[in-house]
């Protein structure tokens, strides 16, 4: 039996995902154009352009799920959102945007999809999750592939103090707060939503086992990101003790 809080939370999550996907479509389109201007390999430019189209299709899949749930479909994101500090050079800003989008956000999204695929039973939901996961692999690889090209042209050390900023932004303001009513129920898995406590665990585990070793491969100091993670772990500890 799914209570009203839980049902509404699942609706909100799918509506938010619709916004994530439409926003990502705009961002990947922009990144493709900027990579072209920066002289990046054509295959990366094309991969980013394809990712933009993928994200538009993903948004339509989220809309399908919302229709099945009899939930409202929000308007698409129409703003092209940029996150890099304006003090960075143009090359650094492009690298920041690629890392924030692909190495952090898309990598975290893959971890969420993998977690959901392990739990999903509904065939329609599984089909959507499989389709999205196949694409998101490429969207995340784009970032790591871009870094392979970029490291020969610039010093990536500037990323070190910015990784916690990216991680904090992608987590959003609520992830490391106590779960509101209806957001931590195991039944959410069958609606394609990871319960709040598991989201916290998956997010930190993905930083620990994918993003940090990945950045280390590229010579980026991950101590600031580890310190940020330590603070999130500490914030969660009292809740775990009280559980």
């Amino acid at each position: 039996m799914v209570d009203e809080h839980t049902r509404r939370h699942a609706d909100r999550v799918w509506a938010a995902r619709h916004g994530v996907e439409t926003g990502a479509a705009l961002r990947f389109g922009s990144l493709s154009r900027r990579m072209l201007q920066a002289g990046a390999p054509e295959a990366l430019v094309e991969l980013a352009a394809r990712a933009s189209h993928d994200e538009t299709r993903h948004a339509s899949r989220c809309a399908d799920i919302l229709r099945i749930r009899h939930a409202e479909i929000p308007p698409p994101e129409t703003r092209l959102l940029e996150y890099a500090p304006p003090t960075l050079s143009p090359e650094e800003r492009l690298t920041y945007e690629v890392v924030a989008q692909s190495c952090v956000s898309e990598t975290e999204s893959m971890a969420t999809l993998v977690t959901l695929l392990d739990e999903a039973r509904d065939e329609t939901l599984k089909s959507v999750l499989h389709e999205l996961a196949r694409d998101e692999v490429q969207h995340a690889r784009l970032g790591w592939g871009y870094l392979t090209w970029a490291r020969e042209r610039m010093d990536l050390a500037f990323l070190a103090p910015l990784l916690p900023v990216m991680a904090n932004g992608t987590a959003g303001p609520d992830l490391f707060r106590p779960p509101p009513p209806g957001t931590d129920e195991p039944t959410l898995y069958q609606a394609g939503v990871v319960p709040h406590s598991d989201r916290q665990r998956v997010y930190l585990e993905t930083l620990e086992s994918v993003v940090i070793p990945g950045m280390t491969e590229y010579g980026v100091d991950t101590a600031p990101l580890r310190q940020w993670m330590d603070r999130q772990h500490a914030a969660l500890a009292p809740a775990a003790v009280g559980a």
Binding site: L36, E42, L80, E82, L147
Partner: protein, 53 residues
């Protein structure tokens, strides 16, 4: 798939992709990193990085 395996699939897979491209020519760009776009602070109270799933 376990989350730990994502390192191999995403990071090493992406690195291999990038290494394969290193031998190829780049696009004919002006190497300035591209034009700065709108809303440089994220514009919606969630600065730092785009939201994920």
């Amino acid at each position: 798939m376990k989350i730990k395996k994502l390192f191999q699939v995403l990071v090493l897979g992406g690195t291999t992709l990038g290494l394969g491209l290193a031998a190829c020519g780049g696009s004919d760009g002006n190497n300035n990193g591209g034009q700065q776009q709108t809303l440089p602070d994220g514009g919606h109270g969630n600065p730092g990085g785009p939201p994920g799933w």
